[in-house]
Symmetry: C5
Subunit: 401 residues, 5 copies
């Protein structure tokens, strides 16, 4: 709590900076200087603070004017138009491993380059169809570059690493949980109960994390404007073009007429000539949408598997509960029969006890009484027992499951 107030103090941090060629360099810099440079606010930086990671939201992607802030589990990065800044390099193993992967992926774009080349072909064939179009000439850099802009390639690496990580965690949990549950379905022991409880707890935490990531992606997919904000390269280029044009038109206007006329001229013509190309914007959004959609599906699949596991646990518990109830009823039923049997024996014992008293009953010497009493009590108690069993059976009390 106290620490939050001291935040503006100068705090040097180590950043791992990975550029478009995959080469990485360690950067010692003041937190606030970085924020200043990248146009990020203090609030946003706090999201990436490894010390606050326990209380902060586990998953967040924020689009700012000149950077994308990515906080996805072990990936805490700031993506700009030409480099990726990693915050938690060296803090934990997963972060370090991701840094290596990211470097390799950015160095040789691999699969990405594969379809990038095919897209280049396509683009060329389209260009050959309309060789002189203005369309082709305004954006030659983009067309030649072919593949996705740097920030999207970096973002894809992050999302792929996240999806793979969730996939792995889900698989680990499934591998651990399913045999355990099947074991519990056969016989409940305090040990497997505790293990199930521990796995259930893991499941809840993992589900929350996967769900948060899923919601983050879903929110972006539902909002075209937000998706367009991911194209920071394109947005920067457009911004620059806009300013250049303004400056030029202003100069022209100043040259020809007075300032007043130029102003109104600019007000009308400037925005229209640059921001009109809605089909380009459409394409940029489509790039981001396809990217996010694919990983949304991946993460959604993991989420569905966790949900299924959760249902499986619940169903097993319900069944175990009914099984234990049924078993208990069977035990009590047998107990009941034994109690009835004991009670019948107790009848004999009581009767024989009476005749075993050292008191004068006057029957002591009668040679037939012994047999009579013995038979009568034995048969009597047997009869009582039989009647009881019959009654209980008729009442439906003796259903052995």
């Amino acid at each position: 709590k106290k620490g939050e107030k001291k935040l503006p103090a100068v705090t040097a941090m180590a950043w791992l900076c990975v550029d478009a060629h995959g080469s990485s360099a360690l950067l010692q810099s003041d937190k606030w200087r970085v924020a200043e440079k990248l146009g990020i606010q203090a609030r946003d930086l706090r999201l990436l603070d490894p010390q606050l990671s326990t209380t902060a939201s586990p998953c967040a992607i924020l689009c700012r004017d000149r950077s994308i802030i990515v906080n996805l589990e072990h990936i805490k990065a700031i993506i700009t138009v030409d480099k990726v800044l990693l915050v938690n390099y060296g803090h934990d193993e997963a972060g370090t491993k991701f840094a290596e992967e990211l470097g390799q992926r950015l160095a040789n774009p691999g699969a990405a380059s594969k379809f990038a080349s095919s897209m280049k072909d396509l683009q060329q064939s389209v260009n050959s169809m309309e060789p002189h179009s203005q369309y082709g000439t305004t954006g030659p850099d983009r067309t030649m570059e072919g593949s996705l802009p740097f920030e999207l390639r970096a973002l894809e690496c992050c999302l792929e690493s996240l999806a793979a990580s969730y996939d792995q965690l889900t698989t680990d949990l499934e591998v651990a949980a399913y045999p355990l549950l099947d074991g519990m379905a056969i016989g409940v022991t305090p040990e497997n109960l505790d293990q199930v409880r521990r796995n259930k707890n893991k499941l809840v935490r993992l589900t929350t994390r996967v769900q948060t990531a899923r919601e983050v992606l879903e929110k972006f997919l539902n909002n075209h404007d937000d998706m367009h904000d991911f194209n920071i390269t394109a947005n920067r280029d457009r911004e620059n073009a806009l300013q250049e044009e303004r400056a030029r038109s202003l100069q022209e206007a100043n040259a020809v007429l007075g300032g007043d006329v130029g102003e109104t001229l600019m007000g009308h013509s400037a925005p229209s000539s640059v921001s009109v190309d809605s089909s380009i914007v459409e394409n940029e959004v489509a790039d981001v949408e396809m990217l996010l959609e694919a990983y949304y599906m991946h993460i959604d699949a993991a989420f569905n598997r966790l949900e299924t596991l959760n249902e499986y646990i619940k169903d097993t518990e319900d069944m175990v509960s009914i099984k234990l109830d049924t078993h208990r009823n069977a035990l009590i039923t047998v107990d009941l029969v034994l109690t009835a049997f004991s009670a019948c024996l107790a009848i004999i014992t009581a009767i024989s006890g009476i005749f075993g008293m050292n008191l004068e009953s006057g029957l002591e010497t009668d040679p037939h009484v012994f047999k009579q009493v013995t038979l009568a009590s034995s048969l009597g108690s047997l009869l009582v027992f039989a009647i009881f069993l019959l009654w209980a059976y008729k009442r439906g009390l003796l259903v052995f499951a």
Copy 2:
């Protein structure tokens, strides 16, 4: 995990290619070449990979510029404007069967052709009412073609197969589960408990799959733009028309004036003349909407049946639980009475045991004591038993369910 990095390597795959006449041919081709040709990205292809089917989302339909990627359970296909590429032909039985069905359906459009012809009649009668309208002449090809475009017919086959498959699985589950549950309601055995658990588990998995399919369709139905993307034939035609017009207007402009003027001219006139026909777009969307809506309803019905079955299982379990509790209470009540009876007999036994000691009580020869003790103890214990029963009944302990 490691395999994902090797994806760009050349991997030859066998595709079953079904064309508009229903004839199918096996196609050995590199995965990436196909993707290149159809304008699909690596991410999208992975969805169809039979090896990854367990971890990927079970249901997905993706609209790309020149193809529709369909991954619906056993149907893993890429639909283009004139053919369907099936991925998992020969891998599993369901996929093979679907391939046959698809061929037959595309060969003789059956029911589809039926209302297609009726629509042609209608279209003609409409045309006869406005014989000279420009409306009728711009789109004669479409009107003559009559029925749905190829890609929608193929999509309908996929959806119908999916809906039928879900319907069958739901019916199978219902046939298996309902008698089982009614059996469990009568008497719980470990066997039927295990069977119910297995069916419940199947139900959860099937529900997840049906729900995913339902959500996929729902998402499309909620978004008119996405639905329009299904008309890849129409979109291709429009694109071509647009480019031809552009080329022509450019030529004209170049012929008459300089390039600069032509550019601005094109910028304003070209898009408006082609993309205006919003009523055609409306019709195309309506075609897709009606198609998706019908199968959405089918799948929704299956989903509702699964939900009902799920509720039935839950209710049965609740009832079984209460039934077992009630039964147990009945058992314990009888046990209690027996215990009380035994305790009363134990009184007699204890008393008679005292008089049975080989100790001098001074009463041994008294001829009345035997009867007195016997009667007293018997009646006494009987009285205790009766009082206990009365008390227990008054306390509400002896309610036999």
Copy 3:
């Protein structure tokens, strides 16, 4: 499954055709001919097929160009601008009864005519205020017709019948379930458990159906365009007007100038003059909205009642479960005391048994031993019993609920 492929075969069906005057006629016609005539597709017709009613969605309303397809429980109808076609006439009782009701309602519009006349008055008073307005003269037919168009009146009959049917079913269920549940709260028997289970099952099925109907109406209420599609009469009139105007303007254009100019003229003027009247559209939507809203509220009320009943069942079950648990604890507590009592008697029995052995203890003739042993064992066991009760009470084991 096999039957679906044979669908295009000619299948004669009996339709009951009810016209605007309430008179009905039986119509033997090929299914596909009807579909052709009404502009309905094969998919839509299948929804109404009585043979498929078990697997299809129970509730659906589909708006097509020239008809409304209504599949609401027992009502399977196609509404056109001047007649209603009933599919399941004679198949089941509810359908037949609805056919009669529908005829009567359409013959003498009853309540509907009542406020229709009032609306006419209002319309006239409005007209008298603006006697020469163009507004009044363009749409005289509509104003004079006064009430709702035929298709909405027919739809209202369907919805009213549906709402009444759900209301009745809900009331039946409530009448059956509430006394049963109160009975179960007092005492659980296998009989009332089974009855509750059966009612619960009915409740689940009815809830699903009512909810589906509710969602169907809600979906329409949330979408103004869809609601407007219900006005098939108005849409037809507008379509006709549009075509007439087009034809006329085309003729004029042809008469005065060449064809080319006419086309462009029409392209701009024709749509604007007809489709502009947004206030008329607003009114048409408002008519449908008020209609659907009223029955949505009715069905929502039924839904709420079912939900309340469901909650009542759940609460009763929870309470019964706790009651059974409490009762069981009471039984076991009494059992415990009896067991303790028996154990104390067993102490006496054991001691007296020892002295009852026919072995020489050397105490046989001591006249005081008998009393000593008897007293000691009796008091001892009594003391043990008392101490046990005290201990158990102190431990909180003897709380009689």
Copy 4:
């Protein structure tokens, strides 16, 4: 059911009519005449029918052209621009009480007048800043009137009464339920179980009602158009202004030119000059929004309290269930020990019983056998008991909670 068909019959009803000055008068009038006058349809009136109140939705607010239909629990009213018609006056106490309150509130606007005057001041100061603005002169009546229009003041009374009523009912339930639940947490008796069940049932019904009211308000808050419909005074004024202007422009047009030109002129100019003032519309919507928002929060707070109570009940039940289970286990544990104790005594009894047989064992006269047997059996059974306890403890069976 039959009664619904007779609805058009003349049914005289007693309405309580409260005007803007708070004075109320009883009005005997035909139901249908009222509906005619106020532009309400038969369907809407049925909502207010006290006889149908049990089956109808408990909460509904409907905006019609010239009236607001309010059906909020005990408040069944029709609000017009200058009076409120109460339906259920005299039927129930709550309705009568509300009628009195409404009269008082409308007579002396109280709190409302307070901030109304302040708003007038503000309005004047704003006016003084722009003394000659056209803005101020077109709507002087509205500005001078100052406060909310009549229909919103009446609506506020209804909502306040509703919110207060729900608040009271929630408080009543809380006061009754919380001590009861705390009592049940200590000890479960059939009496408090029944009371909890009754309170739970009340809670469910009240929650449904509060939730319905909440949803009604939420639906309005989510839709600006619907909120604007509440301003029936303003809408009426605008309508009138529109018609006047039309009439005037028509006259002018007729005077100067022929009818044809005037029509087209009107078509373009008339709507624009009246409906343009979007800021006025904004203000009207804001008035309604603030009104509904405040009472939405009130009702939402009640809803949250009911939800919390519901959770409290559930948690208490869960805890009671675990408590009963724990208690039962404790009872059975003690029972087990007693049973073991009895079994050990039974060993002694059995052994001594054997030596107590009147059969020749040949040990009768041995003076040491008695002690040997007595000691051996006693110590033996004690040993068995001790071993059993030790074993049970080791197995974890003897954990006293």
Copy 5:
């Protein structure tokens, strides 16, 4: 209830007024005068009333024309363009503490000022690129001011205090609950059951509060218009600018022409020149969005933690329930074996009891009978016991968990 009617009465209240420099002053003022001054309505003020805080919604932020009303737990404030009015100063500790914090934060903006300065730099560099642009000159004050406007800085303080408070409460609950639950998982005692119940109750209440705050922020984030209303400074400036311009144009118009022409001129030109700057509006919305988003994430994280804790409690309870069931079954199984053992002993006792009767059996002097009977009964009962155990084991009754 009665108190609500007396609200318009003059009620003096003590407000703590904190201005932009952090200096605070106590203000004794009539409630209604404040409301008048700030353009707040009576309904809104009631939200802040400390006496009504128990029944009112715990979290609400309302945007009014000239102020933001903030009611967030212990923070009850009205934020205007240049000061914050705190209502509950001195009523409770949390409110007082917040007042101090707020003063400090507003006095030295701390972290906020940090990035504010960086933004100023950026703004300057942008300005230097387009030195003569009209853009820069119309809004110099805003640009120079640099940081967030006062009302947003004050709002940030409120939200930060709220988020920190929720974070602390969540942590407190977690610290208390987790060890307790782990303890309950090991052994259930009435004490820890009660403590868990109390913590669960706290959890429910806290969750409701956090969720309400979360929903309040979410609602704003989903609505761009509502977010823009937060910029009351900017809105005020715009309003003023609009009025000045109007006044000026009116004067000009009056000077040149008659009043009529000026009016129409103003109607068209005035709004366009002021309200057009949509990019400024965009920036203002973005400021608010980033502010709310950051604290939304904070509160959402707390919410997720509470949800996880809730799940943990539920899972623990489920597990405890199954554990108790399993334990009980084990107890009953042992009890069953003991009962069977006792029954077998009872067989011996009964047989020996019969031979212990003082009746003439004729076997008394046979020297072999004693051994025969003893052996037969002992072995017989042992056999019975063994057979029973074997049977029970075969039946699956003797599974020791």
